[in-house]
Amino acid sequence: MDISPSEAEKTLASIRETDDQMRKAMNAAGGGYQMLIWGIIMMIGYTLNQFGEHLSVAVVAGTWIVLSVIGNAVSVVMSARMARKFHSPLGARIGAMLPIFVLFGFVAAFFVHPAGPREINLLIYLLVMLWLAMMGLWVKPSMLWISLIFTGLMLFGYVVLPDYFFLWLAIVGGGAMIGSGLFLLSGRG
């Protein structure tokens, strides 16, 4: 079968376009929107933690509960959409991993007694990053690098800026999460 170079060029362009569309769809379904949403939630929630000294504990805790419900609802809907579009033997295991990490977080917080709110939030953050690192090893290598960079940034903030750790979590943690979400949605992740 003979084809002209211009036909070959057009065909290769259509292959690249399809590959790009597919990667964007996979990244959107597989974490891009979740990262974006959780990044925004972190920004709002931790800003409130940093500057909400005059607010009652009920207001701060109530805001976090509402934000967490929204974040979890979006995550569940996105995971269901992902499962409808793509089928992966790893899908169910990855879905089960997050609640297991949350359970270990509660167990650690209950028995190890972290020194205060900063330590509790650092512990939660480290567990989420551990989950992301596992995702990176199993599914998408870029997630491993994102996890390692976030972890380094959070430890830096915890050690160097203890009085502004919640603000650090809001801007750097939330911002990096939003940036990573946008990176994945661009199809480059």
Partner: protein, 106 residues
Amino acid sequence: MTMPELDEIIHQPVRLRLMAALVAIKSGESAEFTFLRDMLKVTDGNLGAHLRRLEEAGYIESTKTFVDRKPHTYVSATTAGRKVFRNQVAALEEILKGSGGLKGRK
């Protein structure tokens, strides 16, 4: 100069894009029929016919399953299909390179 060998089955535009989509996902993973239909902008019947042709050639395999009590068809590229697709891309690049069209490309 001899023209690189092209596979006629996947050279058809819809089938080639279909293979490109399926090769973009990892081996062992599969994509759902309606998702592929919407992405490729084809009808159910059209996509079904192309899938059958590729399945007969051994380039893809499909699995029917139930999600939320509704039937869904998931499609994945076989090892043979991935190999044929890679060879097709290499052949197309060879044709383009032969004409000088790949100079300076990534």
